[in-house]
């Protein structure tokens, strides 16, 4: 078992590496490279992705979020943020729909606002 500090360091290293390579197409990392993220790492990753989005580095932000999702697929914020960035900045409506839906499925309360967005997307994608 890794200690939390060790895991955090490994995560940051991975984030930096991914951020540096975001501009060029990279092959999908092998399955065995997926590392499960703990809560702190997910928070760090999510916020870092949003910072990248603030800087206009949308693809890097999205990729980081996808990484986070692979490490913490049950984290709704990651799906939500990936859906927003995909919808507004990458104009990838399919991916946005997917992750809105995943977000909705992971959240217990019935978010009508998000439901409306899903409906709008489904309509626009028809």
């Amino acid at each position: 078992m890794m200690t939390p500090d060790v895991r955090l360091c490994a995560l940051l290293l991975m984030i930096v590496t991914l951020a540096g390579c975001a501009s060029r197409p990279e092959p999908e990392p092998p399955k065995e490279a997926v590392v499960a993220l703990d809560g702190q790492a997910v928070v760090t990753l999510n916020n870092r992705a949003l910072s990248l989005k603030e800087e206009g580095r949308f693809r890097e932000a999205a990729e980081l979020l996808r990484t986070g999702i692979r490490g913490a697929p049950e984290t709704p914020e990651l799906h939500y943020n990936l859906a927003v960035i995909s919808e507004l900045y990458l104009l990838d409506l399919d991916n946005a729909l997917t992750h809105y839906r995943r977000y909705r499925s992971l959240t217990e309360q019935d978010d009508k606002l998000v439901a409306g967005w899903i409906a709008d997307l489904e309509r626009r994608l028809q």
């Binding site: 078992m1 200690t3 939390p4 809560g39 702190q40 997910v42 928070v43 760090t44 999510n46 916020n47 949003l50 989005k53 206009g56 949308f58 914020e77 939500y80 943020n81 927003v84 960035i85 919808e87 507004l88 900045y89 990458l90 104009l91 409306g116 967005w117 709008d120």
Partner: protein, 931 residues
């Protein structure tokens, strides 16, 4: 008279011999015969019994012995003793060689007394000796005392009584002589004939033949053929062969001479040479025949029959052209004509002589004397024709003179002067090639000729005159040069040589052959005798040569030397203009060295050369140019500050010089290159006002002000220029104008320049990325200003009017944004989309919020509001559409602040689709599963 025979007598002397001979014969005593040194008289003869004549003399003196015999003669009465004493007395004188004999009177007494003794002896018949001898002695005694007839009688007795006596030949000779002297020539001829035909007396036979000839001659012309035969016999006796002719001596020579003379007399009295030839034909060939003709010629000459004399000589030469005497005959012809005072004929005779032996083989056969004579004649003929040529100015006479001189030169031991004369004559005859040959021969192939240098110079003169077309002789400069070098080699100390070399050097220079020009100019300097003038000339040539060869250092040296000679005062013909020319050339050479150094990148040397031109020719144009180019050298070497200093100094020193006009540009270059653009610009501004069109310089200045960050001074110039309303005539001009506007915009200028820029770019056929970008920026700014104006217009009552103003403002803003997109869509599209969208959003908002007219009631107010919403809705839709277009740019990866702003606007206008809030997370510190 012939040489080799004996010394020549003059013709007049020869004539005198004949007269003397005749006188002698007629006056002599009966026994006295003058036949030369060996012709003894009877008195001289000695009795054959007096054999002691060779004994030694007694111890007493001969005079004493003679006195004793004379006392014996006088004291004795014995005839025999007295005869003996008389003989001994005569022998003493013979043996002692002293004059012991008594005087003539005493001797006459002795012989008269002796005659008595002889008669006594004969009468007594008691003489014990030979009677023939006694008769001979008696004949001698009679002859001595003047009893010629008695003497002849005793001799006839002797010959008759004792025909075999050895004394008979002489007795006959004496008898013949007696007959001859008495004028009985036929008798004499017979008597001589008896002697010749008889035995013995060989020594007398030649004389007898000679006298027989004379006896025959005296008998008249009818006997002359016999006389000729007799005389030829005499000559045969003495000169049987040619070799004997030269050996004839003494009295024999005189006999031969007289024989020849008489032969000549006889022949001349007839028809001359033909008579001689007839006599000789009869007698056969004679080795001495030429002597006969010679004497005949002499005789004619003596008789003043000069033509006949010369004719005889020529006749013999014509018949015997190869005879050794031929030259003498021909020479004699010259003398004869001279004697006759016929100078022309004498000259023709000389010419005949010269021509006769002009052939080398013929000349070699001449004796040295005649060779010398040939040379003398040839020289005189040459002189004559030369003089004649000078008197008459006829070239043919000079040509004739030259022929004689040339012929003479081949044979003279020292032909130098003759060759030179030949050269002079050919020159006067305009026969230049031959003149050259003669002069050259005299000058270069005649050792020891003192006038060789003058001859060589004469040849040189021909070539120079030919080269200058002063005479009709084709000469070339190479030929003249070769001649001059030969002259210099042979006569290196000749004082004319330096001037010659200097002249040739100048000729080569004029011909454009610097190598040869240099060669001869350097010759001048190697000669010690060269005068300052000649050296000066040579230095000038060398200066030109080196200058042409771009060897300016040596050119400077040459001209400096020429200048030094001028300064020394040793030149007399140098004018002030010449001196100035030299100085100018010297200065030019120095200047050129500066150019060379400059080209080679040797800046310091170049500057030094350029600057020292002024020391050579102070204040001259070239000196000023030197100063100017010194600065240029510094410029070329990027030595900016030094160049600036020189340029400023130049402008200060020569403010009015034409070159000063370009100083400003050079200063601008120096300032610019040395990072002083503001100074460069100021320099341009200083001089711009002097130009007809100042703007090129001002605009350059503006650019330099820009580089020097002197924006205010730059912008002033831009404003002034743009105010002139320039229209671009080229892309460059358009760009430049737009650049000015751009910079003015950067300096915060008014929107006028933005409008100018947009308008200029719209109207221009030329664009660049830069101008399009600048125009796009300007249009955007104008658009923003219009948008701001649009936003500031409130919609109030009456709405139509305010709305119209607002729509007009919207329209202006839209146009500016469209112009900006036209110029540079890529750069401005996102912003224009945003701003255009905002125009519509603001318009929709302002419509919605515009004041409702107060007079409306509630219903109307509600209807009015609804109407406004309906009016505003399309604008809002348009705003959403444009923002959405801007948002769509993200599909191409184009993200900008204007996209983000459009997204924010969309979030307000269409929140259901665009209003999204991301979810930031925070760590809540959940316990570690592993803890």
């Amino acid at each position: 008279m012939m040489p080799g025979y004996y010394r020549r007598y003059s013709l007049l002397a020869a004539g005198a011999v004949l007269t003397a001979m005749t006188t002698l014969v007629s006056a002599q005593e009966s026994f006295r015969v003058e036949l030369g040194s060996d012709g003894e008289t009877i008195a001289d003869m000695r009795p054959v019994f007096l054999t002691y004549e060779s004994r030694p003399m007694p111890a007493i003196s001969p005079a004493e012995v003679a006195r004793r015999y004379q006392r014996l003669f006088d004291s004795t009465d014995e005839p025999e003793v007295r005869i003996d004493a008389l003989n001994r007395l005569a022998n003493i004188q013979q043996a002692s060689g002293q004059v012991v004999q008594p005087d003539d009177a005493e001797e006459q007494r002795l012989y008269r007394e002796a005659l008595g003794s002889y008669e006594s002896v004969i009468e007594r018949g008691s003489f014990h000796g030979k009677l023939d001898e006694l008769l001979y002695q008696m004949a001698k005694a009679h002859a001595f005392v003047g009893h010629g007839e008695e003497s002849i009688q005793r001799l006839k007795q002797l010959a008759g009584l004792y025909p075999r006596s050895p004394l008979v030949p002489e007795a006959r000779f004496r008898i013949a002589e007696s007959a001859f002297a008495a004028g009985r020539y036929a008798e004499a001829e017979a008597a001589y004939g008896q002697l010749i035909a008889g035995e013995g007396g060989d020594s007398l036979k030649t004389k007898a033949r000679y006298m027989q000839g004379w006896s025959q001659y005296k008998q008249g012309s009818g006997a002359w053929p016999r006389a000729a035969a007799s005389f030829l016999a005499v000559l045969d006796q003495s000169m049987p062969t040619l070799s004997h002719i030269g050996q004839v001596q003494g009295s024999e020579r005189e006999v031969i001479d007289d024989t020849l003379r008489v032969m000549a007399l006889m022949a001349a009295d007839r028809d001359g040479a033909p008579t001689l030839e007839a006599w000789l034909a009869q007698a056969g060939d004679k080795p001495y025949d030429y002597l006969l003709f010679d004497r005949l010629a002499d005789h004619y000459a003596n008789q003043r029959r000069y033509g006949d004399s010369v004719a005889v000589s020529r006749r013999y030469v014509n018949d015997h052209p190869d005879h050794s005497a031929a030259p003498a005959f021909l020479a004699q012809a010259v003398d004869v004509w001279k004697l006759a005072g016929e100078a022309d004929r004498a000259r023709e005779a000389r010419k005949e002589y010269v021509v006769a032996f002009s052939d080398d083989a013929d000349y070699r056969r001449l004796t040295p004397n005649y060779q010398q004579l040939w040379q003398t004649f040839a020289h005189r003929l040459g002189d004559f024709y030369y003089d004649l040529g000078e008197r008459t100015s006829q070239p043919r006479h000079f040509a004739n003179a030259a022929k004689f001189y040339e012929a003479l030169s081949n044979r003279a031991e020292a032909p130098g002067e003759t060759l030179r004369l030949a050269g002079d004559a050919r020159l006067q005859a305009a026969q230049y090639d031959q003149a050259l040959d003669n002069y050259r021969h005299a000058a270069y192939h005649t050792s020891g000729y003192e006038g060789g240098a003058d001859a060589a110079w004469a040849a040189m003169t021909i070539l120079r005159d030919g080269l200058a077309n002063r005479i009709d002789h084709a000469a070339t400069l190479p030929e003249l040069s070769a001649e001059a070098e030969k002259f210099g080699t042979s006569y290196p100390a000749d004082l004319r040589l330096p001037a010659l070399y200097a002249d040739i050097a100048n000729r080569w220079l004029e011909r454009g052959e610097p190598v040869y020009a240099q060669e001869f100019a350097e010759y001048v300097h190697r000669l010690e005798a060269s005068t300052p003038e000649e050296r000066y000339s040579a230095w000038l040539v060398l200066g030109e040569v080196h200058y042409t060869a771009a060897d300016y250092r040596l050119a400077e040296h040459a001209w400096r030397e020429a200048d030094r000679l001028i300064g020394s005062g040793s030149l007399t013909d140098v004018t002030r203009a010449d001196a100035e020319s030299v100085r100018r050339q010297l200065a030019t050479a120095v200047y050129r060295q500066g150019e060379v150094a400059q080209t080679a990148g040797e800046t310091d040397n170049a500057v030094a050369h350029f600057q020292r031109v002024d020391s050579v020719l102070p204040g001259s144009d070239i000196a000023i140019k030197g100063r100017y180019d010194a600065a240029n050298s510094l410029l070329l070497a990027n030595r900016w500050q030094a160049a600036v200093n020189e340029l400023v100094r130049f402008r200060s020193d020569f403010p009015a010089h034409p070159l000063t006009g370009s100083i400003s540009d050079k200063l601008v270059l120096a300032y610019t290159s040395s990072g002083q653009p503001v100074r460069a610009a100021s320099e341009l501004m200083e001089t711009a006002g002097k130009e007809a069109d100042p703007w090129p310089r001002k605009l350059r200045a503006a650019e330099l002000f820009h580089q020097g960050q002197a924006a205010e001074r730059r912008d002033t110039l831009y404003r002034e220029y743009l105010a002139t309303g320039p229209e671009p005539a080229s892309a460059e001009e358009h760009i430049r104008l737009q650049t000015m506007r751009s910079r003015l915009m950067d300096s915060g200028a008014t929107s006028d320049y933005r409008q100018q820029m947009v308008r200029a770019e719209l109207n221009s056929d030329w664009h660049s990325e830069q101008t399009l970008g600048w125009a796009a920026v300007a249009a955007m700014e104008l658009g923003r200003e219009a948008a701001e104006e649009f936003t500031g217009i409130e919609l109030g009552h009456p709405l139509e009017q305010s709305l119209a103003r607002k729509q007009a403002a919207l329209q202006r803003a839209q146009e500016r944004f469209a112009q900006a997109e036209q110029f540079d869509q890529q750069a401005v599209r996102s912003e224009t989309l945003y701003r255009r969208a905002e125009l519509y959003r603001v318009l929709a908002r302002d419509l919605m919020s515009s004041a409702v007219p107060k007079e409306l009631n509630d219903l109307e107010r509600m209807q009015y509001q609804m109407l406004l919403e309906e009016e505003a809705y399309p604008f809002e839709e348009k705003a959403i559409e444009l923002h959405a277009q801007n948002h769509e740019l993200l599909a191409n990866g184009e993200y900008s602040e204007w996209v983000e702003k459009s997204l924010q606007a969309l979030a307000e206008l269409f929140p259901g689709r665009y209003d999204r809030e991301v979810q930031w997370m925070s760590w809540k510190g959940e316990p570690n599963d592993d803890a």
